[in-house]
């Protein structure tokens, strides 16, 4: 039992920190730390910087062009970049489709797509959910019909995050309607620039545009873009979901947000004293901090015990991670008092400053609280995660 980082890990942390200090653009960091809107170019700029360093896919195996970081190194990387205010890495290519391609993709897919992901060439998005299939993913209806050397895809995906920027989408599609629903699903890689694809924004309750509907009308997809075997899409999807859930604990980002919360609580006043000195508010902050401390240890335990592909226990990380994220947004909003009320989308960029309307950190926080209600819904709602644990871990 030794909870200290090894000398190598400590050195790696220093290396990452130094790199981030030297290379993370200040304007991007400020946007992240102040909860402002990130443009496509912000993500792209930072991912290009990492790609140049060879770190965009640092956690990938060396054979696929990664650095073969250990899970602990990857955690350190997450933590350091998050702390400094780096944007999250868009996971759809790096952490979602890439593991599937590595495990089940054709040589060409590996050669072609993995290198383009690693070099930040393609922006990927995820085509899973449909209007009628949210939690019940296997009921999806988007059809892909084989027609010579390509498929014709028709249907609709929804809740597609940042599809408006995407070059590629990985999709679960139905290739066979005559078998059990899980068995008729295939996994396709589709060029978002293909004729027949329309992206329509979904505006969220904070009036932001982050998710989309994606419509497919007779979209031609080469058969070479089928991953693995036809009808095995469900297997690949489950494989992917396991990978998705580790990162979702979001410990690094939550630690940063906790610091921000403490900073805000120092500035906000209650009866002429810092809000952070209020025993009730301080206790609530401390309880989130304690939960987060426990979660961080739980993440490390999972990483230590399993290496890469976490089992259903990883659902815990999703549940606790998102609960903590929400608790932090809630406390930040509460901290503002009446200044939680102003809603000024123009303050989501760095250009428009207006010190008249409350402290400069205030404007995005209530909107962010509402936006973050999504985190217990997406990626398999927390109810679905609990069902998974009940069945797969507890045998209920």
């Amino acid at each position: 039992m030794d909870l200290a980082y090894t000398a190598e890990e400590a050195a790696f942390r220093d290396e990452v920190r130094d790199f981030v200090t030297a290379n993370l653009p200040a304007d991007i960091a400020r946007k992240v730390l102040e909860h402002r809107r990130l443009e496509k170019s912000d993500y792209a700029r930072w991912q290009d910087i990492l790609a140049k360093q060879g770190w965009l896919a640092g956690h990938w195996p060396v054979e696929h062009g990664g650095c073969g970081w250990t899970p602990v190194q990857n955690h350190i990387f997450d933590e350091e970049t998050a702390a400094a205010g780096a944007p999250r890495l868009i996971p759809f290519g790096l952490n979602m489709v890439a593991p599937v391609i590595m495990a089940y993709g054709s040589p060409w897919q590996k050669e072609h797509y993995l290198s383009r992901i690693r070099t930040n060439h393609d922006w990927w998005c995820q085509g899973y959910s449909e209007p009628g299939s949210g939690s019940d993913l296997a009921s999806l209806k988007t059809r892909a019909v084989r027609d010579g050397d390509h498929y014709l895809v028709n249907g609709q995906k929804t809740w597609t995050t940042l599809a408006q920027y995407a070059d590629m989408i990985f999709c679960l599609v139905r290739t066979d309607t005559t078998v059990k629903k899980q068995e008729g699903i295939s996994f396709l890689l589709i060029d978002m620039h293909s004729p027949g694809i329309t992206v329509r924004p979904i505006v969220t309750l904070d009036e932001e545009h982050e998710v989309n509907e994606v419509f497919f009308e007779d979209v031609k997809v080469p058969v070479a873009n089928l991953v693995g075997e036809e009808g095995k899409g469900w297997t690949y999807a489950k494989y992917l979901l396991g990978h998705e859930r580790t990162g979702i604990a979001g410990v690094g980002a939550s630690k940063r947000e906790l610091d921000t919360l403490k900073h805000i609580a120092k500035i906000q006043r209650k009866n002429g004293r810092p809000l952070g000195d209020d025993p009730g508010f301080a206790a609530r902050m401390a309880q989130v901090e304690i939960d987060l401390l426990a979660l961080e240890m739980t993440v490390m335990r999972v990483l230590a015990s399993r290496g890469k592909a976490p089992g259903p226990e990883a659902s815990i990380l999703k549940i606790k991670g998102t609960e903590i994220q929400q608790a932090l947004t809630e406390l930040m909003m509460e901290a503002l008092g009446p200044y939680a009320l102003p809603f000024r989308p123009e303050a989501m960029t760095l250009d428009t400053e207006d010190e008249l309307v409350g402290p400069d950190y205030a404007a995005p926080l209530a909107a962010r609280y509402f936006n973050y209600r999504k985190v217990t819904i997406y990626g398999g709602s927390n109810e679905i995660q609990r069902n998974i644990i009940a069945q797969m871990v507890l045998g209920l």
């Binding site: 949210g134 309750l205 819904i377």
Partner: protein, 379 residues
């Protein structure tokens, strides 16, 4: 003990509910919010015609002399319909203050016009660092001969850029947190030195930062007792808080109904999601919150007019704290039960959710009112 509403109250509720249902569609609300002023003069006039705007105005000034229970009836329907118009600011707080403490001249000049919908009032009280403390006033009113010079910054003033008259609190004596030394002034929005920075609020309304820069007013602008306005502010804030509780109940009632409807119709795994026991129990918790909220909001309304300040404060703080917490809990469950749809702008429920959540931030949040409840009991 009698929990029934009077015939007049029932009629009022029904006619308002009918109007809101027919005229105040969700699309219309959206258009109103996006308009320059953020509220609809047409709706406001309709409210005036229905007698809503003079509901609590004394009869001799063209109103109906109604009670806080009448306000509850109206506020609850406004909540159900998610009406954004400045009823709380102008009718409950503004008119309420003038009716309670105004001179005859002030009443004559303000009340009938406000009741007719021709004059919009608001209370400009909070300040950047005051949070919810009513006694915390840094804005100053310096005597200059027979006049006063106002200087200060009023924060998150509801409809501060739309109101015709602002009732501004300012310090005529004492230090920044003293109970004594606070006075109220009625000022015109267009006066020299009055600046209002208008913005939307996340719950669909408008507010403004109001800067007072050497604003010169006459002694006749003073509303209520010089130096001794705090009890008056406390009383009207409680009436306002009770109205907010009633509005929250209306919002919650609709939000619950929408959520119930959604889980009865949304199909997953071959059945409506409302068949899943976990979601059923969540819906039951929402229902229990609603019933308990109705109860405590009623108590607050009945006590809001009480001459016994301790009784009034106890009931209002209990209700506002309760609604703060139950509103938060219900909102979170409602969004979660709606799944992805719950976080879209397109769905009415998400707008109900925003209002229900943010009511906690008006006139004292749950923490504030729990602490007041405790402090009052300690005496």
């Amino acid at each position: 003990m009698d929990f029934s509403f009077s015939e007049e109250q029932q009629l009022l509720r029904e006619s308002l509910a009918r109007y809101v249902e027919r005229e105040y569609t969700f699309e219309k609300r959206r258009a109103i919010q996006r308009s320059a002023e953020g509220f609809s003069h047409e709706v406001w006039s309709a409210f005036a015609e229905m007698g809503l705007l003079g509901l609590t105005t004394p009869e001799e000034y063209g109103g109906y002399g109604g009670s806080a229970v009448d306000t509850l009836v109206v506020s609850q329907v406004l909540g159900s319909g998610l009406v954004v118009e400045p009823y709380l600011a102008s009718v409950v707080l503004g008119t309420g203050l003038v009716a309670r403490a105004g001179s005859t001249a002030q009443k004559e000049s303000l009340l009938p016009a406000a009741a007719r919908g021709e004059l919009l009032l608001t209370l400009a009280h909070a300040e950047p660092d005051s949070r919810y403390e009513l006694a915390e006033v840094a804005t100053s009113a310096r005597r200059q001969g027979n006049q006063f010079v106002l200087q200060g910054h009023k924060a998150v003033v509801p409809w501060g850029a739309q109101a015709d008259r602002l009732i501004v609190s300012a310090r005529t004596a004492g230090g920044p947190r003293d109970a004594q030394g606070i006075s109220l002034f009625v000022i015109e929005r267009g006066m020299k030195g009055v600046g209002a920075r208008d913005y939307r609020t996340i719950d669909g309304q408008r507010a403004a930062e109001v800067k007072l820069d050497d604003v010169l007013v006459g002694a006749d602008a003073v509303l209520g007792p010089l130096d001794g306005a705090l009890p008056l502010l406390e009383a009207i804030a409680d009436v306002g808080a009770a109205a907010l509780c009633a509005e929250a109940v209306g919002v919650m009632e609709t939000l619950n109904a929408q959520t119930l409807e959604y889980i009865k119709t949304r199909q997953q795994f071959g059945q409506p999601i409302g068949r899943f026991q976990v979601l059923q129990h969540r819906a039951v918790d929402m229902f229990i919150h609603l019933e308990q909220s109705k109860s405590i909001a009623l108590l607050a309304a009945v006590r809001a007019d009480s001459a016994d300040a301790a009784e009034r404060r106890r009931a209002v703080s209990a209700a506002k704290a309760h609604l703060g917490r139950s509103g938060r809990a219900v909102t979170q469950m409602a969004i979660q039960l709606h799944g992805g749809m719950g976080v879209t702008d397109e769905l009415p429920a998400s707008h109900y959710a925003k209002r229900l959540t943010m009511i906690d931030f008006h006139l004292g949040d749950a923490d504030f009112h729990v602490e007041r409840f405790v402090a009052d009991a300690r005496g």
